[in-house]
């Protein structure tokens, strides 16, 4: 039995190598970048990764943040499959995204992943790499498959950002660019100029970032992407005291703090409209100022996690916020 599995692994390895050879001519050879070898070797959420030999050519992306990062860097042709996508991509990448094959609506199993013969799996959540998910990082490494987790989603002490900043997102852009031996200059310049153009609301408004839940609200807390976006547009998060990215909260505190606006996360399985209905049907929250006056801001679920869409999410919310007329 061990011998058989070894043969299978060997065959898989050969297949990967062959398919790699087959596709190499199709892929435009990346121009040798200026990045040093050190930039391609680093510690990712506690796992050493090394991409100094060659850039990955067959990538599986799990969650929207990873798919969109590659599309933003013009690396869509490296994606052999996507999984567990959170929603549609923005219009700019629509044509490119339509070409991608979907491996799994939810987290793929190890066999589904191996079947696509990837050389890199890029995941938006650390938990996507588990035995009942895509496989543990060390197992995949043993099969010659590199793994990378969006650093903003690292959970370990020392790896999780103490308070997420745009510098963390820009560092991820740089890291991914160096993994693929491509340049990040254009994308970073774009992100920075878009960020600089976002107006900051001066009215000192308070906000609740309502992500999901009905009996217990699940909300954006003090150290993750929701906090970063709210800081950027000039909203004061009523749940900022909880040192988590997201947290389960309670309605009593929400009613007590009576936020000026409510940010609703819009997901296909839990739409913004459904959340409005939850707020309106609960007699305690129906009397909140934001609910009575329909002061809602809407953010798509896929844009609510840290990544290349965070800047545009903030820009979009700032536009919605400027339109709100508070007497």
């Amino acid at each position: 039995m061990p011998r058989l599995s070894r043969i299978i692994v060997l065959a898989a390895a050969v297949a990967v190598a062959l398919s790699g050879c087959a596709t190499i001519s199709a892929v435009s050879t990346p121009s040798p970048s200026t990045s040093t070898a050190a930039a391609e070797k680093f510690d990712n959420c506690g796992t050493r990764v090394d991409f100094s030999d060659a850039a990955p050519k067959r990538v599986i992306t799990i969650k929207s943040t990873s798919t969109e990062m590659l599309l933003a860097l013009g690396l869509g042709d490296r994606i052999v499959g996507t999984a567990f996508q959170d929603g549609p991509v923005p219009a700019t990448w629509k044509t490119e995204a339509a070409k991608l094959s979907v491996l799994s609506v939810q987290v793929p199993s190890q066999e589904v992943v191996l079947n696509s013969e990837p050389d890199l799996i890029y995941a938006g959540w650390e938990s996507n790499f588990s035995a009942d998910g895509a496989g543990t990082r060390s197992d995949l490494q043993g099969l010659g498959i590199a793994t990378y987790v969006s650093p903003a989603a690292c959970r370990e002490v020392g790896y999780q950002p103490a308070r997420l900043g745009f510098s963390d997102i820009f560092r991820e852009i740089g890291q991914v660019a160096s993994i693929f031996h491509v340049s990040d200059t254009k994308l970073l310049a774009q992100q920075k100029s878009d960020l600089a153009a976002i107006p900051r609301d001066k009215r000192g408004l308070t906000a609740l970032w309502f992500s999901s839940g009905s009996s217990t609200p699940y909300v954006g807390a003090g150290i993750g992407a929701p906090q970063l976006v709210m800081d950027t547009v000039g909203l004061k998060n009523i749940a900022s005291g909880v040192k988590e990215t997201w947290t389960s909260f309670n309605w009593e505190t929400v009613v007590n703090d009576n936020p000026d606006v409510i940010v609703l996360v819009d997901a296909t399985w839990n739409t913004a409209a459904k959340k409005m209905a939850v707020l309106e049907s609960n007699p305690a929250t129906a009397n909140l100022d934001a609910v009575k006056n329909h002061r809602y801001l809407i953010v798509p679920f896929a844009a609510s996690e840290a990544g290349v869409r965070t800047v545009s999410a903030a820009s979009d919310l700032a536009t919605q916020l400027a339109r709100l007329d508070l007497k």
Partner: protein, 339 residues
Amino acid sequence: MQARRAGRVATAGVVLALVLVLSITFAITIGPSNVTPVEVWGSVLHHLGVGDGQLSLLRDGIVWQLRLPRVLTAAAVGAGLAISGAVMQALTRNPLADPYLLGLSSGASLGAVAVLLLGIAVLLPVAAFLGAMLALGLTLLLASSLGRITPSRTVLAGIAVSALASAVTSLVIFWTVTGDSYREILGWLLGSLSGARWPEVAIAFAAIVIAGLPIMLSGRILDAFAFGDTSAAALGINVNSTRWILLAATALLTGAMVSVSGSIGFVGLILPHAVRLLVGPRHRALLPLSAIVGAIFLIWADTAARSVFEPRELPVGIVTAIIGAPIFAILLTRRRSEV
């Protein structure tokens, strides 16, 4: 001896009823927002038609729409679970029995999950009750197919039915959950009262009146059952139909409680044991006192769940298990000879 025990039961009853009223009165003054106790009571009295409330609409909502319905639901659920536990322990003559034995909880959960996730258009408590009854029916069918229905056969059949219902529940969740929507179901599966509003209060109290009171009044019958089916029959009780009626009433009670709070463990298991230590095993005293103690216990467990980690909340099922498991261990060692 008899008189002394009766006196003790009466005293315990009066004291515990008082503690229950005080618990409700004080539990509603505790919470993450800074409404003062005087304001809280003023708001409640105002809604009851006494005095005028000085609270703003929102802060009044905190008291009248969030805290009070939640505390009252906790009281009713705690009472219902404790009664169900005591009855199950009597009917199955098994000290380890709880309301969730015989597949009742898993069946109720399956019914509720079917409504929540598959969108079947039945009211949640109805679905939970139907699920509980279906599981109970299957359990008794399986137990009877083994021969005469004995307590141990019933319990074993219940384990099998429970496992099946849990597996189907997991299957439904696995197939229907997308994105982060599992969160909606997670708190409910762990047992939580955070969704309790006035409709939930109505459901829980209706179940207490419709199923809980008749059970509490059948203490004499349950005392007979405690000595075995033969002695129960000798006392002129129709053993089979009585057992069926009591089991169905327990299923109704448990189903209603699961539908408003999910499965909250340990309340039905440990509290009847604790009350037995206090007043002895006779059900005429045991059932009403267990109900009161269950209500008090769950009120405070839920108050802890919603205030200890504020502004976050803990599913109350975690609190009852953390408090309940050590108490259960202590009770086990004290009652070593009986287990």
